[in-house]
């Protein structure tokens, strides 16, 4: 029987950690978007912690 564990490990090693983290962040954003959007978010880019607030 084939052992699939090393294959999965090899693939995940190929993708740099910085890109894996970026993918995780995109997934988290999508999940957050699926949930209820807060009223503040809809007000535009002035929400606490919004990326654009850090100019």
């Amino acid at each position: 029987m084939l052992n699939t564990v090393p294959v999965v490990k090899a693939i995940s090693n190929v993708i740099p950690k910085v890109l894996l983290q970026a993918k995780k962040e995109v997934t988290a954003q999508a999940e957050k978007k699926k949930g209820s959007r807060s009223k503040m978010w809809n007000n535009g880019p002035w929400d606490n912690g919004h990326w654009a607030n850090r100019k």
Binding site: L19, Q29, A30, W51
Partner: protein, 266 residues
């Protein structure tokens, strides 16, 4: 930040929940050529002292590094300098003439030179592969290519939402734009309703809308959304994109996209 940050200011910022970003243009030999006191003395040592104070106060919010003719040819040296100093939150900005300062023509670099620099920084970031390193523009572009929506202000297509308040309370457009009469939207003493209905603001919004329509057919519109209002168009009131800026932005997005695909992250 002021060139010399007194400890009491650091305490004041911490007490009132201000996070402070600092301008540092790389190692002393670069920084001191560009950012000098009126006496001619470079400000590097004072800036580093300020960074240490902000770190101690827990309110250091990273570095903005201006890329000019002085440091543009040294991406690896700059990158290694910041990492060695344990500075991992970075933003790079191209030096360009927007009319706020005099006598900077010798420092200005072209969009192509800046793109070469940013591509080199992206490759270094990928090669070092440290998830703690956050280079704002790169983080935003990678996120958008992967289908996210984490937008740096220049990729929001909402330049009318950013304003600058000057010391006399006057409100102008984003500080990347010239503070001339066409972008004077009012004063903090005015009621918000009056500012929002200002004819110059309305006119600016109209220009931005027209620009969006022009750019919508572009393959990279999903990232740049028409780009920075101060940068991407021939004139402030024009909706015709600057070819050189667009070509280089596309080259930058294509490079990042190709690398993301190469590693199978897409």
């Amino acid at each position: 930040m002021p060139l010399s940050l007194p400890p009491e200011w650091a305490s004041f910022f911490a007490e009132h929940n201000f996070f402070v970003g600092v301008s540092l243009d790389g190692p002393k030999k670069f920084h001191d050529q560009i950012r000098r006191y009126s006496s001619g003395k470079g400000s590097y040592d004072a800036v580093i002292r300020g960074v240490n104070l902000l770190r101690q106060a827990g309110i250091f919010n990273g570095i903005i590094c201006c890329i000019s003719a002085v440091n543009q040819g040294f991406p690896k040296e700059l990158f290694n300098f910041f990492i060695t100093k344990n500075i991992k939150k970075l933003k790079f900005a191209r030096v360009k003439n927007i009319g706020h300062c005099n006598n900077i023509s010798s420092l200005i670099i072209s969009p192509s030179q800046y793109t070469d620099f940013m591509i080199a920084i992206f490759d270094l970031w990928l090669e070092l592969d440290d998830p703690e390193i956050e280079i704002r523009d790169i983080k935003s572009v990678v996120n958008l290519i992967l289908g996210g929506n984490e937008r740096e202000c220049i990729y929001m297509g909402q330049c009318d939402k950013f304003i600058t308040v000057y010391s006399d309370g006057s409100i102008y457009g984003c500080d990347s734009l010239p503070n001339n009469d066409t972008l004077y939207f009012g004063n903090v003493r005015n009621k918000p309703k009056i500012i929002r209905s200002d004819s110059r603001l309305k006119n600016f919004q109209k220009i931005l809308k027209k620009r969006k329509e022009t750019c919508q057919a572009c393959d990279w519109h999903f990232i740049c959304k028409g780009g920075c209002a101060s940068n991407c168009y021939k004139q402030l009131d024009s909706s015709e994109p600057q070819g050189e800026i667009c070509e280089n932005l596309k080259r930058y997005f294509e490079h990042i996209s190709a690398k993301v695909r190469l590693y199978g992250a897409l």
